[in-house]
């Protein structure tokens, strides 16, 4: 449904996106992950045709982007609807831009996103969550096959975020293809397919389960301890440590296979008097995300 090959974009001599390729099948929810400035927004904008790629090829539903515009919708990262128009007027405007005059359909969209009560309210007066819903409704006004969503849940409360994701699944069930950029791990977990981007490069692709393989052979140990700068320092200095990740009182240490449980325990015992025993765990997406991006930062 979405095909890109060798996509490259430079801004003032700086390569924002470096020869990335992707193929997304119909009905998939595709998550593009990466830290800020990884090139996610540039990629999604190139796919939507609002930034011209310096090199590479894009096919949307087998068509060039300019010809495929009727077939996709786009929700930009920032609120792009007209603040001085009402919810209904915005929706109607975007529908008409695609030649859609089916008011029935627009009313259904309002209902779907619980916007009916705010129908006549100015879009600028809506809360962030409802602005996002309006943006989605506008992007869906012409019933596109593909939806590009640039960080659709950034700055959105968890309840609304869940509602939105429920909606994304419904759209996916209707055989719509969703392209989502995010840096929320729990959202990445919800995608069918993932791609990791860092510093303009595509560094890993796969499903949420298989993408963990990108870390290669590693072991994950966890222990219960509050944040101790001294411990972090010692660990960082040790051989074979891939990543140290503190979650509240849980410390996750990802190490290369050659690091043994005892050697790690010894390091920790030097700093803490009575440590809780180390547990063996599995890498989670966040481990992968941070390890891969820091890796990239080191090699770059």
């Amino acid at each position: 449904m979405i095909h890109a090959a060798g996509l490259t974009k430079c801004f003032n001599g700086h390569t924002a996106v470096n020869a990335i390729s992707l193929d997304i099948a119909k009905g998939q929810i595709f998550g593009l992950l990466g830290p800020n400035a990884a090139g996610k927004t540039t990629t999604i904008r190139m796919l939507c045709g609002i930034i011209e790629a310096d090199a590479g090829e894009i096919l949307i539903d087998e068509m060039r982007v300019a010809q495929a515009k009727m077939g996709f919708g786009y929700v930009a990262q920032s609120f792009g609807q007209y603040e001085e128009l009402s919810v209904w007027e915005n929706l109607q405007f975007y529908a008409q831009m695609y030649g859609v005059n089916d008011e029935q359909r627009l009313h259904l969209l309002l209902q779907r996103y619980a916007l009916e009560p705010f129908k006549d309210q100015m879009a600028g007066a809506l809360s962030g969550g409802y602005q996002r819903r309006l943006a989605l409704a506008c992007a869906l006004a012409h019933d596109p096959k593909i939806l590009f969503l640039d960080e659709p849940t950034a700055g959105i409360d968890p309840v609304t975020r869940k509602l939105l994701w429920d909606d994304f699944y419904q759209l996916s069930a209707q055989r719509k293809t969703l392209f989502v950029t995010t840096h929320y791990m729990e959202e990445a977990q919800r995608c069918h397919q993932l791609a990791f981007m860092a510093a303009g490069n595509m560094i890993a692709t796969g499903t949420p389960d298989t993408i963990k393989e990108a870390l290669g052979e590693v072991k994950v140990y966890t222990t219960q301890t509050p944040y101790l700068p001294a411990l972090h320092h010692v660990l960082r200095e040790s051989e074979g440590i891939v990543l140290i990740n503190q979650f509240g009182t849980e410390l996750r240490v990802i190490v290369k296979p050659e690091v043994t449980l005892t050697s790690l325990e010894n390091i920790i015992n030097d700093v803490i008097d009575q440590p809780t025993p180390l547990q063996i765990s599995e890498p989670n997406l966040e481990d992968v995300f941070i390890a891969l991006t820091q890796d990239k930062a080191v090699t770059a």
Binding site: R45, G49, I50, E52, A76, G80, Y82, Y94, Y98, A135
Partner: protein, 370 residues
């Protein structure tokens, strides 16, 4: 407060285009106006009829020529003089009757008629002053002693009398001079500011990004942006005109249809120019500056306040690149001079040309990418 001042200065420094406008704009305008703005007209076209063709009448004509003030050309009749001025080909006229020499030698003070286009205030005053010099002693001296053998029989203070006739605006009403042009200035300001920010605002508010994803074509985008503002500015034009008629006894046009065409085309020029500005500017502030950069020279170099004839030939072509120049020409023609359409066609054509250039420019400049 210091932090605030520093922040503002830093922000300004980060907008090189704005700095360029702040520095370059005054510089360019100052030099331009310094060179171009003169009150003394040069080579004002003057249509004349000299039925006497005598040594005396040559003296008058030569005195008009020599200062470089008037550029004389001959026409066939008195009616032709007025026609030439009405058409805008001449700004002044001179009529000398066949009996001039005869009356002069008989000391009967012949009359010479000097015609002035009354639609240009400063030009009218300057021309009247200039023409008065033809009765100066330096000119008339030779008339007293034209024939060294003949006795000096001239008794009158001045050998001949120069009658000045202000055409089209005989009472020299100031409102007639300025009001027609003022309408154009107001519309220019409204239109340029109104549309000057329309695309930049969409860019700044980030609605453009969302808009560019839609399948709208470049032409539809541009025309869709233009038309509503053309309509609004057109209504505004008539509103201003109506107030002018109501409050200041502005004359009725020779043709309402032609006035409407002028309003429509002129408004279209200004709106499309505004849109073009909006496509070039990166911020609303820049758009405002560019608009002012266009408005100020338009007012000063269009012949609206200072006569075109006073602008040196070398820079006068700039005047002809200003749409407002043609507006002034047409509106004066329609409201005051009753100029025939045929003599205004080139000005209408020029305005239409600007519309085509600006709209095409906008479509070409508009990118469907950020």
């Amino acid at each position: 407060m210091r932090a605030m001042i520093k922040k503002e200065l830093l922000q300004l420094r980060r907008d090189p285009r704005l700095i360029g406008l702040i520095v370059v704009m005054p510089l360019v305008l100052l030099i331009l106006f310094g060179v171009a703005l003169k009150l003394e007209p040069q080579n004002v076209k003057m249509a004349y009829v000299d039925k006497d063709h005598s040594y005396f009448t040559d003296l008058i004509k030569t005195s008009l020529w020599t200062d470089g003030y008037f550029e004389l050309y001959e026409v066939t009749s008195k009616a032709k003089i007025i026609e030439e001025i009405r058409a805008g080909r001449a700004k002044a006229g001179l009529y000398i009757d066949g009996s001039f020499s005869e009356l002069l030698t008989e000391n009967k003070q012949p009359h010479v008629t000097f015609y002035v286009d009354g639609t240009m205030p400063s030009l009218t005053t300057a021309m009247k002053y200039q023409s008065a010099s033809t009765t100066d002693e330096s000119v008339t001296n030779d008339m007293y002693f034209s024939d060294p053998d003949a006795p000096n029989i001239v008794i009158a203070d001045t050998p001949f009398i120069m009658d000045t006739q202000v055409l089209f605006n005989p009472d020299e009403k100031e409102t007639w001079f300025f009001l027609p042009g003022v309408i154009g200035v107001l519309i220019m300001q409204i239109a340029l500011i109104l549309t000057g920010i329309t695309v930049v605002r969409e860019r700044e508010k980030q609605t453009l990004e969302q808009l560019l994803v839609t399948p709208i074509s470049k032409t539809n985008f541009i025309i869709g942006k233009l038309l509503p503002y053309v309509l609004i500015a057109l209504l505004d034009f008539y509103f201003i005109l109506a107030v002018g008629w109501g409050l200041f006894e502005l004359p009725q046009p020779s043709s309402h249809l032609l006035l409407f065409v002028l309003a429509l085309v002129y408004v279209a020029v200004m709106i499309s120019l505004g849109l073009l500005i909006s496509l070039f500017a990166k911020t609303q502030q820049q758009a405002m500056f560019i608009a002012i950069f266009i408005i100020v020279p338009s007012i000063l170099l269009s012949g609206f306040i200072f006569p075109l004839e006073a602008i040196p030939e070398a820079v006068r072509y700039i005047s002809y690149m200003i749409p407002f120049t043609y507006f002034v020409e047409i509106i004066r023609g329609l409201l005051i001079k009753q100029t025939l359409l045929i003599d205004l066609l080139y000005a209408y054509g020029a305005l239409l040309g600007f519309v085509v250039v600006f709209v095409t420019g906008s479509i070409m400049k508009f990118r469907k990418t950020l």
